[in-house]
């Protein structure tokens, strides 16, 4: 049953050193505030899972918190490479990073299978693809009716998932709208789930019958953090800060510049700064 609590407490209670953790969000609703709190709390030895690790995983890898990353697209979307991830993979800075790489289809299916309580996912994929040769977690199953050989990957089952959502109601039910990505699956696949939200409303009486709602008993903690997805966006609240994504490419190029930026913008801040950051992005949302 979800409890409302400050982000600091929710991260401290739910994320431990060595955990397998997903901060999910498919370009939309990326839980930046929660990830920054995890960085401030200095968690170590994490296995990070995400289809599209972008800035927050670049930051966590660059801060030396990550042992392994499971992913399907490690880029700054529309901008280029993740330079801290690249530095870790190519030069082991600040430490070596083990990677388990999949395709989007594999990861999406793996989250789906995790939410469905299954040990593996089956799909028609990886045909002729090189990842099969370098990833032992890509295997095969044979259809017992047609004999067709399909791809199989282990389901994703994080210890804890963090997502950002638009709204909670007073009971702690969660509403996610717009590009919903794999957030529902990431929450249901995990042992624990922490959700940051833009706001709390009385009820969801005006919400569409089939909207993506996570009942309060499917969530561990709810934290009110307005702007908590910045520089990602929250549909209906503020738009994506594309300029920040473009800037990140320069910040992350240089180790010293990265370290300074993290101190100033993450370590020396708390989550209240996010509300300020999205002020100028609210016009067109």
């Amino acid at each position: 049953m979800a409890k409302f609590q400050p982000l600091k407490d929710a991260v401290a209670e739910n994320l431990k050193d060595g955990d397998v953790v997903a901060f999910e969000g498919f370009t939309h609703l990326i839980p930046h505030a929660a990830a920054h709190e995890a960085i401030r709390q200095g968690r170590k030895d994490l296995t990070l899972i995400r289809m599209t690790p972008d800035l927050v995983y670049d930051q966590m890898v660059g801060m030396g918190m990550v042992r392994k990353m499971i992913f399907s697209y490690a880029g700054n979307p529309g901008v280029g490479l993740l330079r801290r991830v690249r530095d870790a993979v190519e030069n082991s800075w600040p430490q070596a990073l083990e990677i388990e790489e999949h395709s989007h289809a594999a990861m999406a299916n793996a989250y789906e299978a995790g939410a469905a309580g299954l040990p593996f996912a089956t799909f028609r994929g990886y045909k002729g693809a090189g990842l099969k040769e370098v990833n032992d977690n890509i295997r095969e199953v044979t259809c017992p009716f047609t004999g067709e050989v399909l791809a199989a990957v282990p389901s994703v089952r994080p210890d804890v998932t963090f997502i950002h959502a638009q709204k909670a109601n007073k009971r702690g039910d969660i509403l996610v709208e717009g590009i919903i990505g794999v957030q529902k699956e990431a929450v249901l696949a995990a042992k624990r789930a922490v959700v940051t939200v833009e706001e709390v409303v009385d009820n969801f009486d005006d919400v569409h019958l089939n909207a993506c709602v996570l009942p309060n008993w499917a969530v561990s903690s709810v934290c009110v953090v307005p702007g908590g997805a910045h520089p990602s966006y929250a549909h209906g609240y503020y738009i994506r800060d594309n300029a920040a994504y473009i800037d990140w490419d320069k910040i992350a190029t240089d180790r010293a510049r990265f370290t300074d930026w993290m101190k100033e913008n993450v370590l020396d801040q708390d989550e209240t700064v996010f509300e300020t950051r999205v002020q100028k992005l609210k016009g067109d949302a």
Binding site: A105, G128, I179, L281
Partner: protein, 260 residues
């Protein structure tokens, strides 16, 4: 040649746009494919269905998205589904007619690498990876590829098979049990290429206006075959150019500034 001025980049995008039809259901990669698909939609193919892997089906963005999940894509979509549904029902379900991909490295059989330069375990350059490409390449009815020519990009042997094109040519796809056509078109900044029906090696079918055979060969890492009936790519029309430039201008303004 026309008296319109245009860049090689613009020619590439417009030539790519022309390959799409009004009835296509198109899975759009980010970057150059996104521009081409939207130019098609804004010119000769107003009813084309554009799908982005973020789950947005039937989008009609006013500006090009920076990521594949900008809010604009969702606001203008017929519907937005979850990412697992996108990959299971819509892509794997066989409902997409054209997949449009870019490439960091490409070989003459349409195999693509966007994973690593060098060895996978000790890469010279770690690239972003495949994302949706491995299954886009196998599940869409056919694949269009667009990229700028360079010796670094168009290579004899790619370092990693991120997505499978025609393998080593011939019936390699059939041998792997694939029933889709694979790469049927390559549009670069210099030329339009199509695979030979038998060998599946890309053959230059038309040169963009002002481009020579030598330019194409100098920026390509394999020995280029030119079609016997080699033609010239028609120059961009004024409508095509204006549409593309307006789209780029709107996009630049939107991505540089903050909200209105």
């Amino acid at each position: 040649m026309s008296d319109l001025d245009f860049t090689a980049d613009e020619m590439m995008t417009i030539a790519a746009a022309r390959a799409l039809s009004n009835d296509d259901i198109c899975f759009v990669g980010i970057g150059a494919p996104s521009a081409a698909c939207n130019v098609a939609r804004l010119t000769h193919a107003p009813d084309i269905t554009l799908i982005y892997e973020s789950g947005t089906i039937g989008t009609a963005p006013d500006v090009l998205p920076l990521s594949i999940g900008d809010g604009e894509l969702c606001d203008t979509a017929v519907t937005t589904v979850s990412v697992p549904e996108m990959f299971r029902y819509w892509l794997q379900g066989g409902r997409v007619s054209v997949g449009f991909l870019g490439a960091a490295q490409l070989d003459k059989f349409g195999n693509i690498n966007t994973t690593v330069i060098g060895d996978y375990d000790n890469p010279k350059t770690r690239l972003p990876g495949g994302g949706g490409a491995p299954e886009i390449a196998s599940s869409c009815g056919e694949i269009f590829i667009t990229m700028k020519q360079s010796l670094r990009g168009m290579v004899d042997k790619i370092d990693f098979f991120t997505s499978f094109g025609h393998g080593t040519g011939g019936d390699d796809r059939e041998k792997l049990g694939m029933t889709t056509k694979g790469p049927t078109l390559l549009i670069t900044d210099l030329a339009v290429w199509r695979p030979d029906p038998e060998t599946k090696e890309f053959v230059v079918r038309s040169l963009h206006p002002g481009v020579t055979r030598e330019q194409v060969q100098e920026t390509c890492g394999w020995t280029v075959i030119f079609a016997d009936d080699l033609t010239e790519t028609p120059v961009p029309t004024e409508l095509e150019l204006t549409t593309l430039r307006d789209l780029k201008a709107r996009t630049k303004a939107a991505h540089e500034g903050a909200a209105a």
